[in-house]
Symmetry: C2
Subunit: 339 residues, 2 copies
DNA sequence: CTGTTAGCGCCTTCAG
DNA sequence: CTGAAGGCGCTAACAG
C-alpha cells in the first residue's frame, strides 16, 4: 500500500491540504499540528509521489540526454561526457533522464517525448550537426538546452572546443618537425565541427606557406577502419604525405595501422596525430600525439550553464570556447619525442 | 502553448475522452472521427504528457539506476555497466533514470525517491554490500530489481561473477608458473564479493597444497594507492610473496608500482594479477594478467531479467553466475607469457 | 459511437 | 489556523 498525503490526513484526522502545508513548511500551520504530521509521516515512511508533483508543478528537477546508439559509440566520448554531466547534475540536485536511441528519426522522437512530454526541465546535447533537426526542434519548442558544439547558422548556448585553433597549432607543430606534406582525414561533413577543424587546417598550412592539396584531404567516418582505408589510399600516392592528421583518435589508430602495413614506421617515416585524447591514445604504440578535449569538464560546465538557464538567469557567456591541449607524443616525430 | 488532448478536442468539437480513445486506437470510435482527430493531432504536433500518463497508469517505462559518486568512480566499472544497461533498456523501449549520489544516506534516499516516488518501474543496482540497506529497502518495498552481485543472507534476482571459481583458477595458474607464496590484496569486507573471492583464494591454495598465511592477506580500498601500500608492506616481509593477486585491476596497478619501486621486475621476480580486465590492463607494462568480468554484457542481461520481471513473468533462472575469463598476460610470469 | 463522471496525488487559491 | 474546491493531463468505467 502506497502512503500518500491522504493516508497521513486520515491518520491525523486532518485534511490533505493541511498535511501538505505542514510538510512543506508553511508558517500558517499550528506548530503542534505540524509536529504531529511530521511524526506520522516519518513513522509511515511517507515519500511524496514525484510524478504527481511534477504534473502539478510542471517541473521535474531532471535533465535529459539522448545518447545515439551508433557504430562509433565504441569511443568513450559519450560515457565520459555522461560522467561529467551526471556528476554536476547531482551537485545541483538534478537527476538525469537518459534515452539511448538509434540515430535519426527515433532520436528526434526521443527528444520530443522528453520535451513535449514534460519529462525534463532542460536538455544537454552533443555531436551537433551542421543542420541539426534536434536543435531546430528545441529552439522552436523554446525549451532550455545547452549543446556541446555549435553550428554557424543559428544562435543558442553552447560550449565548444576551438577546433580551428587546435588544428593550426597541430599543423605548426608538424611543420616544426620538418613536415610539409601534411594530410588530413576529416570527420563526416554533416558534423558541425568538421568545418572549423578543416578551416584551422587550411589556416595552419597557410601560416607555414604550404599550398593545400586536394589529394591530401579525405573524409573519414570516425571509425578505425575508415581511418585505415583513407590513409592507405594516401600512402599509395606518388608523393605520399609525411604527416597525417585524423579528426579523431580512433581514425588515427587506423592510420597507424595503414602506415605499418606499408612497412613504414609511425613517428619516423610518417607522423600521425589525432583529436580527442582518448585514454588509449597515451598507451598506443607509439603513443599518439593528439589534441585533448576535456570532455568530462565540458559535461560539468554544460550542466552549470543549463542550471543557470533553468533558474531564469541570463548567461553572460552563452558561447564558451575551449582551447584543446596539444599532447605531443612519439607518433608525431620524426625526431624521437618524449611521451 | 502546450498542445493537450483538450486543445485537439476543442479544435475538433469533440470531448477529450473521444480524442484520447481515437489516438489510443480503440475500435469504438467512428473511423471518420478518428481520421479527423489524427489529422489534427499531427498538424498540431501533439505529444502526450508523459508525466500525466505515468500518474494515471502507474507505469513509467523507466528503469532506475543510482550511481555512487565515490573515490573509485575513476575505474570505468559503472560507465561500462551503464552502457550495457542503456543499450538493452533502449531495446526494450525503456528509458533510464540516473541519479548520481554520494554513497550512504543520500544514496538510499535516491532509491526511495525513485521507488516510492513512482518514478521508475524497476531498478538495477550494482556493488552489493554484505548487509545492503538498498536491497533491504527494495525487498521491503516489494519493488522489482535485479542486482549485480549477491549477498548470502537473502534471496533476490541477481547476476554475479563466480569470484570463487575465478580465484581458484588464478591460483592454479600461478602455481603452474611455480609460485607457492601467493598473496592477496582483498577489497573491503563490506563488499559482498570479497568473501567469495577470498574463499576461492583459500580453496585454490588448498588445491595446490599450500597453507594459507595471514601475512599474505591484506585488505585494500580498491584504489591504486591502496594496492601500492599493501604490496609495499608485503614485499618488506622477511619472506616476501612471489605472486600477488589484487581484487581489482586498479589495485594491481598499484602493486606493480610497489614491485618496481623495490627494484624488482613484474612478471619475473614477482607475478602480479588483477580482477576486472579494465581496458588499461592490456596496455599496462607489462600487460596485466587478470580475471575478466564482462560488465557490458552483464548490464544487458540484467535489463533482460528486469524487463521480464516487470512483465510479470517469473524468472526460471533468477540467479545467474558467470565465470570470469582468465586473461593470461605477461605480468604473471616467471616464464615469458604471451600477451 | 460519443460524452459525462471520476480519480491518479499533489499543490494553491480562496473561504471560513 | 484549517478545510473545501479546483485543476495539472490523462484514461477507464459507465451511460446514453
Amino acid at each position: 500500500m502506497k502512503i500518500t498525503l491522504k493516508t497521513i490526513a486520515d491518520e491525523a484526522g486532518l485534511s490533505v491540504t493541511t498535511v501538505s502545508r505542514a510538510l512543506a513548511g508553511y508558517d500558517d500551520v499550528n506548530e503542534a499540528t505540524r509536529q504531529r504530521v511530521m511524526e506520522i509521516a516519518e513513522r509511515l515512511g511517507y515519500q511524496p509521489n514525484l510524478t504527481a508533483r511534477h504534473l502539478r508543478s510542471k517541473q521535474t528537477s531532471t535533465i535529459g540526454m539522448v545518447i545515439p546508439r551508433t557504430a562509433y559509440f565504441a569511443d568513450s566520448f559519450f560515457m565520459e561526457l555522461l560522467a561529467g554531466v551526471g556528476r554536476q547534475a547531482s551537485a545541483h540536485g538534478y537527476d538525469l533522464l537518459l534515452s539511448v536511441q538509434p540515430p535519426g528519426d527515433e532520436e528526434l522522437a526521443a527528444y520530443r517525448r522528453m520535451v513535449a512530454g514534460s519529462r525534463v526541465d532542460g536538455i544537454v546535447l552533443a555531436r551537433v550537426l551542421r543542420h541539426d533537426p534536434r536543435i531546430a526542434y528545441l529552439q522552436q519548442a523554446n525549451h532550455p538546452f545547452v549543446s556541446f558544439g555549435r553550428s554557424e547558422t543559428s544562435d543558442y548556448p553552447y560550449i565548444d572546443v576551438d577546433g580551428a585553433r587546435g588544428m593550426r597549432r597541430l599543423v605548426q607543430h608538424l611543420a616544426e618537425n620538418g613536415h610539409r606534406r601534411i594530410a588530413i582525414i576529416l570527420s563526416p561533413w554533416e558534423l558541425a565541427f568538421t568545418t572549423t577543424r578543416y578551416e584551422g587546417y587550411l589556416e595552419g598550412l597557410d601560416a607555414i606557406g604550404v599550398q593545400p592539396d586536394e589529394a591530401y584531404v579525405a573524409e573519414g567516418d570516425l571509425t578505425q577502419q575508415g581511418g585505415r582505408d583513407a590513409a592507405a589510399r594516401m600512402l599509395a600516392l606518388p608523393e605520399p604525405p609525411t604527416a597525417i592528421i585524423a579528426c579523431n583518435d580512433l581514425m588515427a589508430f587506423g592510420v597507424m595501422e595503414a602506415v605499418e602495413q606499408r612497412g613504414l614506421r609511425v613517428g619516423h617515416a610518417v607522423a600521425v596525430a589525432g583529436f580527442d585524447d582518448v585514454p588509449a591514445a597515451a598507451h598506443a604504440i607509439p603513443p599518439l600525439t593528439t589534441l585533448r578535449q576535456p570532455i568530462y569538464a565540458i559535461g560539468c560546465q554544460m550542466v552549470d550553464m543549463l542550471v543557470r538557464l533553468l533558474r531564469g538567469e541570463t548567461l553572460e557567456h552563452a558561447h564558451v570556447l575551449i582551447e584543446p591541449e596539444l599532447m605531443v607524443r612519439a607518433s608525431s616525430g620524426p625526431q624521437p619525442a618524449q611521451a
